[in-house]
Symmetry: C2
Subunit: 476 residues, 2 copies
């Protein structure tokens, strides 16, 4: 690996150097973990540093990172310190920022300074976010001037903005340069560039006036002018939300997206691999929230049980408080229940089916929103469709419920069950379909608004429908 800043990610092996230290395929790497990772664990338990060194050396970089992420923090630091310097930097770079932060506190100052300097500016910023302010300041002060400037530029943007995730290492060209001159620039600056496949084209005031692909440069002759090859740039503003920009980069299938400031001056570039990392994190967040938990900030097996409890208990409490609504509804209808205890047998089935119907609708619409197939202003169309879908599902299930419940508990109960299923499915699908759009419109992540909340709401509504139908049909 070269020294600061680290080379970009254009190489066919991503962040690996061209020496190909990861000489195995991914499947081989998995096999290696299966056999060598337990050996590492045993050697650490036995405090046998020689064996630790051997076990670490037997793992390729991907497998080693994987094995380290599963260790307890103290053991992780011990294993890490057995690595030779070059390898240590390579491994450090690939660790989750939360684990980098922990390691930093376990290493000597000079080791830390070296590892910190070897990171890309945007990765340095992620690590700084994990560290106490005093440590962060000391690390920043220890950087060479040029690196500190690059890092400060990234640090200047608010958390969540794409300015924080972009790379300030890019190679520009000018409209009046030729292909040959541009390729010379690329050759000179390739070591410091995050990517050389998409080159921003800037004017004399560094204002972005287009991009040109290396592909098009090579396809044109060496004498062609960049002017004739550049295309419209579709830049992002540095203050834009990082997830939104990453999604755009992925949707438009771009390898890199230039980032500009408010005066259209180029400040950085977001590459597709950084976009992928952003989307992966956003996806984890959405999934956690749709399951009613706060996202974890680190790999599952290295998250303490205490943190797991903390990530879930608040949502669970909120939902439980919401669910006391069902207790109140049932309390209101307690007289009806006492007259006919058989009605209580169907409560879990009916509210469960309502919850499932609502979740189906919410999941479908949330996904359609994420893919851009649906927008908040489609709310009328969506509600109309979901009402029809819910009624259709309710008819099918209601008919079946009527027949089965009639046979077992008599036609009166059968009719109550059938009609309730029709009502509950219609309401649940409509509400479930509308909720993600409402969430999006008021600026709340649709995933937060989805499954657990819909279940709670549909539970209470379903019970009201149930007892109203029962009172009407049974005359009680």
């Amino acid at each position: 690996m070269s020294s600061t800043p680290t080379p970009g990610t254009d190489g066919p092996t991503g962040t690996d150097g061209p020496t190909g230290t990861d000489a195995t395929t991914a499947t081989d790497a998995l096999a290696a973990v299966a056999s060598d990772a337990p050996r590492l664990d045993r050697s650490l338990a036995a405090r046998d540093l020689g064996a630790v060194t051997a076990a670490v050396a037997a793992l390729d970089t991907a497998a080693l990172v994987d094995a380290l992420e599963r260790l307890a923090p103290r053991r992780r630091a011990v294993a890490f310190r057995t690595l030779p310097k070059g390898r240590a930097l390579e491994v450090f770079e690939r660790l989750d920022a939360s684990l980098q932060g922990e390691l930093v506190r376990a290493l000597r100052d000079d080791e830390v300074a070296g590892a910190f300097a070897a990171l890309d500016p945007e990765d340095r910023v992620s690590l700084l976010d994990e560290l106490p302010a005093t440590v962060a300041t000391r690390l920043l002060d220890g950087l060479p001037d040029a690196d500190r400037d690059l890092t400060s530029a990234v640090l200047g943007y608010p958390a969540g903005a794409v300015g924080r995730s972009m790379s300030p290492g890019y190679v520009t060209t000018h409209p009046h340069l030729t292909v040959a001159e541009t390729l010379d620039r690329v050759r000179d600056r390739v070591a410091d560039a995050e990517t050389v496949y998409t080159l921003p084209v800037v004017d004399d005031e560094r204002r972005l006036v287009g991009v040109v692909s290396l592909r098009d440069l090579i396809a044109a002759g060496p004498g062609a002018l960049v002017e004739g090859l550049r295309v419209e740039a579709r830049p992002a503003r540095a203050s834009e939300d990082a997830e939104v920009v990453a999604r755009r980069c992925a949707d438009l299938r771009l390898l890199a997206l230039p980032v500009v400031d408010d005066e259209d001056r180029l400040v950085g570039i977001l590459t597709v691999d950084d976009a992928l990392a952003l989307l992966e994190e956003a996806e984890s967040e959405d999934q956690a929230r749709s399951g009613g938990a706060e996202p974890l900030r680190r790999p599952y097996l290295s998250t303490p049980v205490r943190s797991l409890v903390r990530s879930r208990v608040v949502w669970l409490l909120v939902l439980a408080v919401g669910a006391t609504l069902t207790v109140q509804v049932l309390d209101v209808f307690q007289a009806t229940l006492e007259q006919m205890v058989v009605l209580s047998l169907f409560v879990p089935l009916l509210i469960g089916t309502g919850g499932n119907t609502g979740n189906q609708a919410a999941t479908t619409v949330t996904r359609a929103l994420a893919l851009g197939d649906v927008r908040p202003r489609d709310v009328v169309a969506v509600v109309a469709r979901e009402a029809r879908v819910g009624a259709g599902l309710g008819l099918l299930l209601g008919l079946l419920g009527f027949v089965v419940a009639s046979v077992v508990y008599g036609p009166d109960v059968g009719l109550v069950i059938g009609l309730t299923l029709l009502g509950v499915c219609s309401v649940a699908a409509t509400v479930g379909g509308a909720m993600p759009l409402v969430g999006k419109a008021v600026g709340v992540d649709p995933a937060v608004f989805s499954n657990p909340f819909i279940s709670t709401f549909v539970d209470a509504t379903g019970l009201v429908v149930y007892f109203l139908v029962a009172k009407a049909v049974l005359g009680i």
Copy 2:
């Protein structure tokens, strides 16, 4: 756009030609949809072909594709036929395969043949999968020989294999060639290549012996040999599962992954944008299944209500049949319920909380599985953690439930509620955490095994715990 095969996706504007027909940024495009798409809809309703042509011309390609996907099939065909030929091809390429299939049936044979020939081989195969066999055969027979061979090569792999999704358009180099010679090859073949940024290196028998990045070629001098620049290739086998390979490509942050046959001979290349499309589809499938529905095969607003009902009814029925278990459990304890109707008030709250706890655990573990942070053989570690997390959550919620229910319904009922919450949360988190791993181990998509099934199981178990605790505490 050039003619068959279409140029690759290396350009900074993705599949757009360098003429930059999409001269607006993505945000502008959204604004354009907002104003011009309704105009398109109105013109179609009025059967005013002149106005349709104008509305279509006012939209950029991305916005037009978006608008077309929201139209009813017949109107989509009308709008599509107003497009000039070059633009029609460009738009056709970008439509979902399901919509391409519908359009094909509405167009004249020569129009279809042109659009079909303009597709990439792997996209042709997606379209063929949507068409009746007779139409598919006729289209294939109409292709020029070279294109038919490329398409047949892709068609030869089973559905779901990466061979079906790879591109057969790549540029190779040889170890004994120089950088200058390789760049000449690139220049000659750039028009037909899906990517030129990752070049597979093959020996004289077309066996893959590495890859070299265009970046490294440019950084080295023109006289350097490919031999010294190639790195390990990490190829995929053509028969491997497409989703697995796409995930590997994204995880390793590679721009392209070479695909080989069983004799290690190069047969194609999977680029990161094709990998992204595969992952997007897989993600849609997982999300639909985790919400208890079958994935849609087309954009939401163009899916008929009938198909939406069909995609959900089977799962809903399966879950409802599973939920009859709760009716049976309650039936067993009906005598207890009759003695103390107040117990029935808490049924939705208790089983709801159990379901939420189980879903939290399942979502967290499913995500950790998807990211590779957890593997099926970690099942013991995961179950141990989730049992502790569940007990912790159960203690907190149980204490709170005890206090609140004691105040409102007396200490006996409070004790029953508190102990039940402790038991239900412990069981739910343990089961919820184990299910995705069990699913993965037996080869079922973890998402299928998750939320709705866990809810149903936890509902029934929770009721048993509830009534056993009630009988023990209340002595009934």
